[in-house]
């Protein structure tokens, strides 16, 4: 169990704005993902846990052992923290063979046990054939497996990964996710993973922490966050929603209904508790929750005329981009039937609308 509370300030300079990290969280078993845009402070947090960066204030506890405590001046050096760290570019020692890289990590053991442990890891990660090669002679997948093997061979209490899938092609990405799931199942080491890729959060994360400009904006399981973003900021960071400015025209708690005005058109929606008539809000709806049909005559209930600007066709779906920043996603087959439409209507569901 990792308990972290850190503060770090970087003063502003002529060429860069000041930055302040203020973070507090706990990470238990499973994978905790630190998600956020570049510069949010994710890697700084990871480095603080590993001992590569020193916070100005705060405390970091791992399994009740103090790694860092500003108040009492404790700052355990990186080599004493027992955290496995997987670097973005693997950082495999280029002048050593794969076997030597692993042996370096197991240096603290007596020779026989070290030998046995290294062989065990080579087998478990399917690296036995490549054991005598140098990193520059390995394939991307082998380097990936080696860097993770090297991080876990010392039986760390915590596994730290810095944007592990960054810059990887799709097949390698799949391999990495499968590998990390396998590691999670076989080794059960609590893991903290830093990424700005939402897909990774869903693939691997048990708990997700959203960081922005050094602050925590929302935390919870990825599914829950995607269902219920805390505010517009989070919704924007996730990037999976249409965010449309709207006014609440009418609220009817008894019949659980409301009316919203969006872009000059009225829509029926569910009752929004905690909101008032006349509120200016953001309507938050996913592209796959919207439908698009041909316009024949006047628009029906919850249908808004819209001008189609662009269509992005993908193998299994099509994304239609309309004026007014409305995006609709529909299965490819359905789009193929509607391709020839001249005028369009975007249809909003009556239930399932969210406002932020």
């Amino acid at each position: 169990m990792l308990e972290l509370r850190v503060q770090k300030r970087f003063a502003g300079r002529p060429d860069s704005a000041p930055f302040s990290l203020q973070l507090e969280f706990r990470a238990g078993a499973g994978v905790t993902v630190l998600f956020g845009p570049s510069g949010a402070g994710k890697t700084l947090t990871l480095d603080s846990i590993a001992g590569f960066a020193v916070p100005d204030e705060g405390r970091i506890l791992l399994d009740d052992e103090i790694l860092f405590d500003a108040a009492s001046g404790v700052n355990l050096p990186a080599r004493a923290r027992h955290c496995g760290y997987v670097f973005q570019n693997y950082a495999l020692f280029p002048h050593m063979t794969l076997r030597q890289n692993l042996a370096f990590a197991a240096e603290r053991r007596p020779r026989l046990e070290r030998h046995r442990k290294v062989n065990e890891m080579l087998e478990r990660f399917h690296l036995t054939d490549a054991a005598g090669r140098r990193p520059h002679e390995l394939s991307g997948g082998q380097k990936q497996r080696c860097s993770i093997a090297r991080a876990v061979i010392g039986e760390p209490r915590l596994l730290l990964l810095d944007e592990p899938a960054r810059g990887l092609d799709a097949p390698l990405r799949r391999e990495l996710y499968d590998l990390l799931r396998q590691v999670r199942a076989e080794f059960s080491i609590p893991t903290v993973l830093v990424t700005h890729d939402l897909e990774e959060c869903f693939e691997l994360g048990d708990e997700m922490l959203i960081l922005r400009e050094g602050r925590l904006v929302q935390s919870g399981p990825p599914r829950a966050i995607a269902e219920r973003p805390a505010n517009v900021e989070v919704a924007r960071l996730l990037g999976i929603f249409n965010l449309l400015p709207a006014d609440i025209v009418e609220l009817n708690p008894q019949s659980n209904l409301s009316r919203l005005r969006v872009g000059g058109f009225d829509l029926a929606g569910p009752y929004f508790p905690g909101r008032f008539k006349g509120d200016r809000v953001w309507l938050c709806v996913r592209p796959d929750q919207l439908a698009a049909t041909a316009r024949n005559g006047a628009p029906g209930a919850n249908q808004v005329p819209a001008q189609l600007l662009r269509v992005v066709e993908m193998p299994d779906s099509a994304r239609l981009e309309f004026a007014g920043e409305m995006r609709v996603q529909m299965p490819r087959a359905e789009y193929d039937k509607q391709k020839a439409n001249k005028e369009w209507l975007v249809e909003f569901p009556q239930q399932g609308l969210k406002v932020l």
Binding site: A50, G51, F52, P77, A78, R79, A80, R81, C83, G84, Y85, F87, N89, A91, F93, P94, H95, F104, A105, E107, R108, R150, G154
Partner: protein
Amino acid sequence: MPVDWFPLWLSLKVALIATALSLVIGLWLAYLLAHRRFRGMEILDAATALPLVLPPTVLGYYLLVLFGRQAGLGRLYEWVTGSPLVFTWQAAVLAAMFHAVPLLVIFARAAFESVDRNYERAARNLGASNWRVFWKVTLPLTRRSILAAAILAFARSLGDFGITIMIAGNIPGRTQTVAVAIYDAVESGNGALARTLVVIVSVVAVVILSLANRLVARQAS
């Protein structure tokens, strides 16, 4: 014409010992400058570059003041070893080090700073002490650059003149290094001897330089 081989042999001995000692001191200073941030770092930085900038006779003068027979450090040395430092071949070693150390610090520091920081971080993360990180990761990755720098330092030590002649003197058969011997031969009109020594030293210098170049080129690739 009999050639006195003593100056050449002495210069080689002095250069070898000076280079070895300079490596120990130079690598340590380079490590400090490359890895640690501490107060007075700029002063240390300037101090290590200073000997390369000051005229050799100025340095020689300072060294005489410090290590002369009447001076504090000179008397300490005599008390410990039983003989004075000035006008011995050991002084020639000290003289050579005053250029060898700055050269090594400059090159070694650049080499250490060029190592990807993540390698050293990874090593520390995996439980290695600072010494082990240096010995097993940093040094192997900079091996060729350091070796090239050491070879250049050796070549520089081989040919030192200004400081050497001031604190080691020009005692034939005792402290007359090859550079000083050439000077002496020219001054006393012994053209043949001068020419012979010059050719030998030139050849040695060219061989050493090409060796160093080859090593640096291989490191870069």
